[in-house]
């Protein structure tokens, strides 16, 4: 059962998938498991659906583990999933959100890469093995700044490069699974992609300095979210559009989401203690998840209160 599961530890892919099965069994009234596809090496790609009924509720998407070496993101996602079932019915804001919306969480967005970090190379990087697309792709996918969905400046077609993009959004099975699922669902109102580490909360665009149409709203919402995060453990985040906060990067997840009509699209870069990089010790999992939750809850509440 999940009662013996340690939310303050890192786990392997098998342990996470086993937890998912137990978690869904124990909370079947509000949580279900959906397989949205298979990875390049044919592992299941799983999504948790939190719903109190109805089939086409407006929905919120959260993914962790795009960069599979950043274990803190998967661990934060697992803690968040448990927080949702623990607080539903107690936390008025969350209860209101779930009464009107569904929440989808993809915990291990890149299962092949995650397995690779446990079995072969904990810190895959650009010195990954050159050679066949398969090998490079395993780690190459790790170092993407999100899903390179669209060819454009700053991305290229070399599967061993950091800014690899497939010839089309559907070219990578992990990307295709998300793109197809979100597109087929057709009623997502917010998308939040969780990476680490830089202590940043960013919104579109990444591909250009041109502000999005609801820039002011996203700026104010990001400000509220990082303030809510700060109040928990005093961690300060930068926030703003990707291109003005970080750098101009082509076709990444939140750009694609925004262009697909999802007005509230955000990328998190979780806490950076300045001592561990993405190798954050497990002792930091709970505090990181606790502060991230307050920012997520702020974004979800805004989405609930601003239907479109």
């Amino acid at each position: 059962s999940t009662s013996s599961f340690s939310y303050s530890s890192y786990h392997t892919l098998e342990e996470i998938y086993s937890w998912i099965d137990n978690f869904v069994t124990e909370h079947s009234d509000i949580v279900s498991k959906i397989q949205i596809g298979n990875s390049f090496e044919n592992r299941s790609i799983l999504v948790l659906k939190f719903s109190t009924g109805g089939s086409r509720h407006p929905a919120i998407w959260i993914d962790t583990g795009i960069h599979s070496r950043e274990w803190i993101t998967h661990a934060t996602g697992i803690w968040t999933a448990n927080k949702i079932v623990s607080d539903y019915g107690k936390d008025r804001v969350l209860t209101d959100i779930l009464k009107a919306m569904d929440i989808f969480i993809e915990l291990v967005t890149n299962p092949d890469g995650f397995a690779f970090t446990h079995s072969m190379v904990r810190a895959p990087g650009k010195d990954g093995r050159r050679g066949s697309r398969h090998l490079c792709r395993t780690w190459g996918f790790d170092s993407l700044g999100g899903f390179i969905l669209l060819p454009g400046n700053g991305s290229n077609s070399n599967p061993c490069s950091e800014t690899y993009h497939g010839p089309s959004p559907q070219s990578e099975p992990e990307v295709a699974a998300i793109v197809n699922f979100i597109t087929a669902h057709g009623n997502f109102k917010a998308l939040i992609s969780i990476h680490s580490y830089s202590q940043m909360l960013m919104y579109p665009y990444g591909r250009s300095l041109e502000p999005v149409s609801n820039q002011r709203e996203l700026y104010d919402l990001a400000k509220d979210a990082v303030e809510a995060l700060y109040k928990v453990h005093g961690i300060e985040y930068f926030f703003g559009s990707i291109s003005t906060t970080l750098y101009v990067a082509s076709g990444i997840t939140v750009d694609w989401a925004y262009d697909s009509g999802i007005k509230y699209a955000f990328s998190f870069e979780l806490r950076d203690t300045g001592r561990y990089g993405f190798l954050l010790p497990a002792t930091q999992i709970i505090p990181t998840a606790q502060e991230t939750w307050m920012a997520l809850r702020t974004i979800m509440e805004h989405t609930l209160n601003h239907p479109y």
């Binding site: 013996s4 599961f5 340690s6 303050s8 530890s9 890192y10 786990h11 079995s119 072969m120 190379v121 904990r122 810190a123 990087g125 650009k126 010195d127 950091e162 580490y197 830089s198 970080l246 750098y247 950076d272 300045g274 001592r275 561990y276 990089g277 993405f278 190798l279 010790p281 497990a282």
Partner: protein, 96 residues
Amino acid sequence: QMNFTGDQVLRVLAKDEKQLSLLRDLEGLKPQKVDFWRGPARPSLPVDMRVPFSELKYIKAYLESHGLAYSIMIKDIQVLLDEEREAMAKSRRLER
């Protein structure tokens, strides 16, 4: 599991765009000498790079010769990885 004994992570603070481009030049070296954990983005943001033990002398000389200020964020990556692995094993025992 690949071993990272002696590999270090250096945190570099580039003063300006010129220094940032010097860091980007490192990215293009063949064979790869550094792995950016936080890539060169803008002068106000730190750049973190993993440097294999065998390249440390060369990379530190490169940084110092170009006046790039750096600190050692992680002295030996493998030490952190061993601690992480031990923590996971301990947690697994407790969970059982």
